[in-house]
């Protein structure tokens, strides 16, 4: 079905999709970590994580987390009583903040890698 997208519905879609991705990641994250009780396996994984492709993956994950966090903050603020008049501007500001934080984060991230 075709229906016009609005700021609100786009924000919701992105929030929901990122949420599902993060939930799935969480499952994998806990499962993997639960098998790392000895130093050898742990260090092996850490070495494996140095793979640049995975680094990019982590950056994407970071972006998803940020997006979900800021969208969540927007929803929570609305629910706490911030006027719905600002819901669109809040979505735009949120997206902007996501980008800024992501760039800054990525900078530190790479500094740490190299």
């Amino acid at each position: 079905m075709r229906y016009r997208w609005n700021t609100g519905s786009l924000a919701w879609l992105v929030h929901r999709v990122t949420g599902i991705i993060l939930s799935l990641y969480l499952i994998a994250h806990i499962y993997v970590l639960s098998h790392l009780k000895d130093p050898v396996a742990y260090n092996k994984l850490m070495a494996f994580m140095k793979n640049p492709l995975l680094k990019i993956g982590e950056l994407i994950l970071f972006a998803i987390v940020l997006k979900h966090v800021f969208a969540g903050i927007r929803i929570t603020l609305l629910e706490m009583g911030v006027s719905t008049k600002y819901h669109k501007s809040m979505a735009y500001v949120g997206a902007l903040l996501v980008f800024i934080v992501w760039v800054v984060g990525a900078f530190y991230f790479f500094r740490e890698v190299f």
Binding site: G8, H15, L78, E79, T84
Partner: protein, 239 residues
């Protein structure tokens, strides 16, 4: 100042053909005319089988809600001059279509019944009117303007997926009574709207607000309902 418009209309004529099709009509309309005028012109002069609901024709009865260029609107309140030359018209989304632009609204109205949509106050009435301050009346002012056209509920992505979801219109109706100082059924009504398919399913998507022909900020009202439910939850109003 008249101009030709192309109406692309999604047709469904169950007596003739079980599948839907798109028909195109070219209509000349002036700048004051509305989409509804276009539809009437088509029905009167081009295709008498074209079927749609209409009544008041000035946005107070809610009969002619339909999807116009991808968004729910009242045909009688949408001026053609504000639209591109090609106007795409479909029935309201997510409800069973009876014929052409006519949808079966039973499900929509049934949702209202679930929120006890009437003033409940069994205290013996005073001799004169019940006193209500203008400030208290203002709390429900926006919510009483709802005309039940169905634009909001059928624009809601949650309703598209979850047909049991009460939806913006019914929640707004619940608000109208929960925030009416004369009503006494707060607990019952809160219980009715806080179920699995109730107020918590609203994700503040704002599609309902975008389409409401009466410009009601429905999401704002639903958010207030959530806060009321939480408040009552803490004070023991809810199980």
């Amino acid at each position: 100042m008249s101009k030709y418009y192309t109406f692309k209309i999604k047709r469904y004529l169950p007596d003739e053909n079980p599948s839907t099709r798109w028909d195109e009509f070219r209509v000349k309309l002036n700048s004051m005319e509305r989409v509804l005028d276009g539809l009437i012109k088509i029905k009167e002069t081009m295709d008498g089988t074209l079927t749609f609901r209409k009544s008041c024709a000035h946005g107070v009865c809610g009969s002619c809600a339909m999807k116009i260029n991808g968004q729910n609107r009242l045909a009688c309140q949408t001026l053609v001059k504000d639209l591109p030359e090609i106007i795409e018209i479909e029935p309201l989304p997510a409800l069973p279509v009876i014929k052409d632009l006519v949808v079966d609204m039973t499900m929509f109205f049934h949702k209202n019944d679930k929120v006890l949509p009437y003033l409940i106050n069994e205290e013996p009435p005073p001799e004169r009117e019940r006193i209500q301050s203008p400030e208290d009346q203002h709390k429900i002012l926006e919510s009483i303007t709802c005309i039940m056209c169905g634009s909001c509920t059928t624009s809601c992505p949650v309703f598209w997926a979850d047909k049991e979801y009460l939806g913006p219109s019914a929640l707004l109706k619940a608000y109208r009574f929960l925030f009416d100082t004369r009503d006494r059924a707060t607990e019952q009504r809160l219980e009715a709207i806080t179920g699995e398919h109730g107020v918590w399913r609203c994700h503040s998507i704002f599609n309902c607000v975008e389409v409401c022909p009466k410009e009601i900020d429905i999401t704002k009202h639903i958010l207030k309902l959530k806060r009321l439910a939480v408040k009552k939850g803490f004070t023991g109003g809810e199980k």
